[in-house]
Symmetry: C2
Subunit: 723 residues, 2 copies
Amino acid sequence: LIFLHISSTKTREIDDILVYTVATSETDGFQRYTRSAIEYGIKPNILGWGEGWKGGENIRYRPGGGWKINLLKKALEPYKDDKNRIVLFTDGYDVMFLSDLNTIIDAFKKTNARVLFGAESACWPDPELEKLYPVVESGKRFLNSGLYMGYAPDVYELLNYSPVKDTDDDQLFFTLGYLDEDLRTRLHFKLDYNSEIFQNLNGATSEVEMFPETNKEYTEYRLKNVVTHTQPLIVHGNGFSKTNLNALGNYLARAWTPEEECRHCKWGQIDLRRTLVKDLPTVVLALFFEMPTPFVEEYLMKIQDLEYPKERIHLFIHNNVKYHMPHVQSFVDQFSGRYKSFKQITPDDSIPEWTARDLSLDYCMQKDCDFYFVVDSIAHLDNPYTLQLLIEQNRTVVAPMLVRPEKAWSNFWGALTKDGFYARSHDYLDIVYNKRKGLWNVPFINTCYLVNATMLKKYDRTQLSYNKENFDADMAFCSNLNELDVFMYVSNRVDFGHLINPESYDVTRTAPDMYQIFDNARDWNQRYIHPDYPENFNPNKKTLQPCPDVYWAPIVTRRFCNDLISMMEAFGKWSEGKNEDERLTGGYEAVPTRDIHMNQVGWDPHWMIFLQRWVRPVQEHVFTGYFHDPPRSLMNFVVRYKPDEQPSLRPHHDSSTYTINIALNEVGKDYEGGGCHFLRYNCSVTDTKTGWMLIHPGRLTHYHEGLRVTKGIRYIMISFVDP
Amino acid sequence: LIFLHISSTKTREIDDILVYTVATSETDGFQRYTRSAIEYGIKPNILGWGEGWKGGENIRYRPGGGWKINLLKKALEPYKDDKNRIVLFTDGYDVMFLSDLNTIIDAFKKTNARVLFGAESACWPDPELEKLYPVVESGKRFLNSGLYMGYAPDVYELLNYSPVKDTDDDQLFFTLGYLDEDLRTRLHFKLDYNSEIFQNLNGATSEVEMFPETNKEYTEYRLKNVVTHTQPLIVHGNGFSKTNLNALGNYLARAWTPEEECRHCKWGQIDLRRTLVKDLPTVVLALFFEMPTPFVEEYLMKIQDLEYPKERIHLFIHNNVKYHMPHVQSFVDQFSGRYKSFKQITPDDSIPEWTARDLSLDYCMQKDCDFYFVVDSIAHLDNPYTLQLLIEQNRTVVAPMLVRPEKAWSNFWGALTKDGFYARSHDYLDIVYNKRKGLWNVPFINTCYLVNATMLKKYDRTQLSYNKENFDADMAFCSNLNELDVFMYVSNRVDFGHLINPESYDVTRTAPDMYQIFDNARDWNQRYIHPDYPENFNPNKKTLQPCPDVYWAPIVTRRFCNDLISMMEAFGKWSEGKNEDERLTGGYEAVPTRDIHMNQVGWDPHWMIFLQRWVRPVQEHVFTGYFHDPPRSLMNFVVRYKPDEQPSLRPHHDSSTYTINIALNEVGKDYEGGGCHFLRYNCSVTDTKTGWMLIHPGRLTHYHEGLRVTKGIRYIMISFVDP
Ligand SMILES: O=C(O)CCC(=O)C(=O)O
Ligand SMILES: O=C(O)CCC(=O)C(=O)O
Ligand SMILES: [Fe+2]
Ligand SMILES: [Fe+2]
Ligand SMILES: [Mn+2]
Ligand SMILES: [Mn+2]
Ligand SMILES: [Mn+2]
Ligand SMILES: [Mn+2]
């Protein structure tokens, strides 16, 4: 592997020391263990590999592990008289080396022990034994059997002081040995009370901290115990501290360093670029529409745009939202045939979320998929390489980090509270704001993630399901993964996309996405702001000026125009075009139009922010030196001109510093005639362009009129800014 | 004379009737009497003409007039047996005929009296006699001897029923005759209780009204008694009713008719146009500066501009106001030498008003003047022919009507209260508003009037003076004229000029006339509004437009500019040019100038009205369709640019809909550099013209800067309108 340029194997013959662990297969935790060993030039001997676990069931919560003693006993047989030989035993799935062996041996020798075990704060598995323990001045009193070391003859004697069954508890076995004062004395059997070498995390998570330590060559994160003021050399995520070890493991053993950043990211990473399509892994792509979601059309296009052969993808859709049926149906009609297979569950099927998600897992099994890829409707995969990159990351479970733009709300949690809910980890904000990029082992992910189906195949729905107690589907699934010791990684190595905020989405409105300018501004802009908008600021272009001080600028898309017209026509209460207008403060409008005000369709705050974000910069660009932020406006409305209703508007001034006049539909096609005539300049704009705005002074100089519409309907959107 | 085309002398031999009056000389009242007689074709016989009055002194307030009986007795001697001969006697100075003799004789014959006297409501001169009077059913009970008629033998018998001395009271004589029941019955001696013929006004002024009566040929005002429902044919302003008769006399006897208007105006009018200068009457022109008076410079120029040879004018000036010394002195230095003579009383002489006015009368006597012409400093004689026209009007005292423009305040009173103060006459408003033009006999005039010196020469300062009791000078003079039965006419036949309102004039200010825009708007405009201002609205001219939507218009005079600079430099507290500015509401100015705000020199209300009256119409003309009346403005200030102070102003917008920028001094002469640059149009106005304004949009389009002044001082006046 690739990390060996940082190697601290220097002078000592480290073959003198025998390092053992027990592992039956390559779990995520074992990979982490191995990587840490390699990092520090340690070559452990793996006992039990490929065998079935014989140390008892469910040993996280129940005693067991006697098998580990019997395996080591056998392994040490050849060294039982080798007096200088040092033996180091650690657990494998929940342990990391934080140092090379030289440092460990030096520290061991300073203890003058011949057998040294890690200590912990709880007396387990038999708390009754507590009173038999010797009293210590400081540090932890009780033996933990996950980390220990000693001279080969002494360790061997200890392992044999009494027979033990594979399913007996290893810790009870060693505890009783320790509590036997004769044996303890004879073997110089000690506990590492102050974590000079061994840090058991259970009950001690708040005592440890990471800190960056800079050596001559590089900086790496180290662990220190702030209570004992020691720097432990091996760490053990025993008991309930597994999540804590996961978090520490993102940095320790040079997983992430300030200089090289995510070193562990590259561990096991693969490259699919030269793989033939037919040899590419098959993926079940599972889309879930569990709530009304803004910008679903764009979401679906991003799904379709994923750079991964559709023929290697099985498409599974659960749509649980009636409002989205046309969107999904349109997508299905257009694209589903291109996928390797396709299955849809519609709102009419009335299938709840967790069941649908479980069905998608089953679909993966059924299709003998290689990967299972979930993309909920709020997950916008702006990066079309997301799926491919996640596969190449080669982890059991990996999620692309997705964040609500400009917010700290993401699709992962950095830490959990004791009862399993969101807690903010020390590095959460650095990660979501992309100040720290990498691959992060976290306790909770959702919305979008890739699962290696090898893992799925290991467990049936009694072990791995979205349906658990009264958890919601995501919580259920993550909780199961946590219990199965499957790591959930979230990657922010590149930008994969972002999250939609569905909270304020109100599908009882017409064109509800128009109202999402606040909660989903990025998507709103993408859909509704004219693609040429940035050209308004191109220093090599002059803004069009069809009449003196009347500027003409692309501002919104046709989609905006259509949606706005739909909103107004759905509302339908066009004004009478009379002078008396109870919508106005004064109750009187001298030059009335047939119109609907933005506030009548609840779109006033939205218009105001649009004005500030999009109109104001154009104003500042064309009317140099005029600054008024935020712009104010009390009169924002859509006007409808019709030959048989109100076809024109007589000359007038607007009560504005400047006026915005957006053409909402197309002259020559939707209507004939119309346009705006500026009388003092004898200048008209009649060839208006849909989605473009006229911006002109409202008062004093720009006396103007709306020209007669002779056929069809002309819609314009008017705003009197800074009245 | 000229009125005879209206003559009602038709069928009857009116030589059968003898009309008598007594008059010793031609007073104003006698002229009125004569005119009314001629109007109705009546030829009275004047008794006592050219003789000294022998009927007792002061007969207005004391008994007397027996002389009138003795004169008539003698005159009737030849007719004492002429049974069909009718005799009509009236007073002369206070009587008017309102009808021809036929109508009078018809009415007399209906009474079946042989002797008929007018009646009045008071028993005078001996109230004790009241109880001896017969009781009457209606009308007045008591005899008045000013109007009577009868058959010659009966009148003659009555005149001789008892001897009477010249200084005895005539009314007592006739009263006692009437109370003698034998005599009364024998002579068919009756009183005209109900004013069928004779209307004595004393005590009856509220019983009479004028009304226009239309005959076939013309309309004339008639008198009616609304109590008795009669239309009296002769009216007598006896006792305290002289002023009432004066007022009635302006209309009655066809003095003023709706068709021909002022017929009595032309009575006695002369024409000076062919008179040689050396033969023109000499005039004492007496100017009085009794209080600080706005626009005194213009006043003096109008005096100088009077179209009357200076060599026929003696100039008398009383200046009682220190503030006006430079104005008067400058006038004197320039022009006094051109007058026939010149006398000035200065503030240093400390002579009070009434004394000075009396001295001016004495000056007239001393110079043997023909006319005495007073023009107080508030009297603006806009019509240079005023003096000439007044002389030609040929009345004893005549004033040109002068009114405060747009106000009802004039230099005359149409009526008096009982205690001699202002009362509004029925026709006062019609006269001051020039709805009724003519020559009006009124009880009070002031400020400007012409007096025929013949009258002055009759009376010394015990009789005719500006010093009387505790009256002010004007009241004293008019009161004397009233007592002397001298009529005061005021003419509004043409427009002579107007009155200045000095009430708010505050000479403690610098350029106090600048503050007179409210109280003396016409004069203010004349002095301060650019003479080319009306050209701004000339439909054949285009307003200059040196930069897009920047207009350039003449607005104020150089005098305005100089006065405004003086105001500011006298105040002197130019701002620091810092961002912090406690004069502003926000306390902060982003683009500060060195300036003084209008409100710091108390000129804000004035500016606001200037803005409304003069700037706004230009704005409406150039920025068509924009109406905002009144304009609002919180920022009105004069800016001073100096190379070593603040020489320029960085690019900015103004907080205005439009901005006014008036050049107050002259580029190239007063300073070099400067001007206004409009950045968005890359256009500058540097050749600014004093008194011209730039008017330009303040915000949005007209980003602008003040260009660097390299030498001298540039002053501009800035106003941010409709912020
Ligand atoms: O018809 C147009 O383009 C002008 C509309 C307009 O001026 C207004 O609504 O105020
Ligand atoms: O110097 C000038 O003419 C411009 C002055 C100006 O823009 C201002 O005072 O706001
Ligand atoms: Fe408009
Ligand atoms: Fe300015
Ligand atoms: Mn164990
Ligand atoms: Mn363990
Ligand atoms: Mn008398
Ligand atoms: Mn009389």
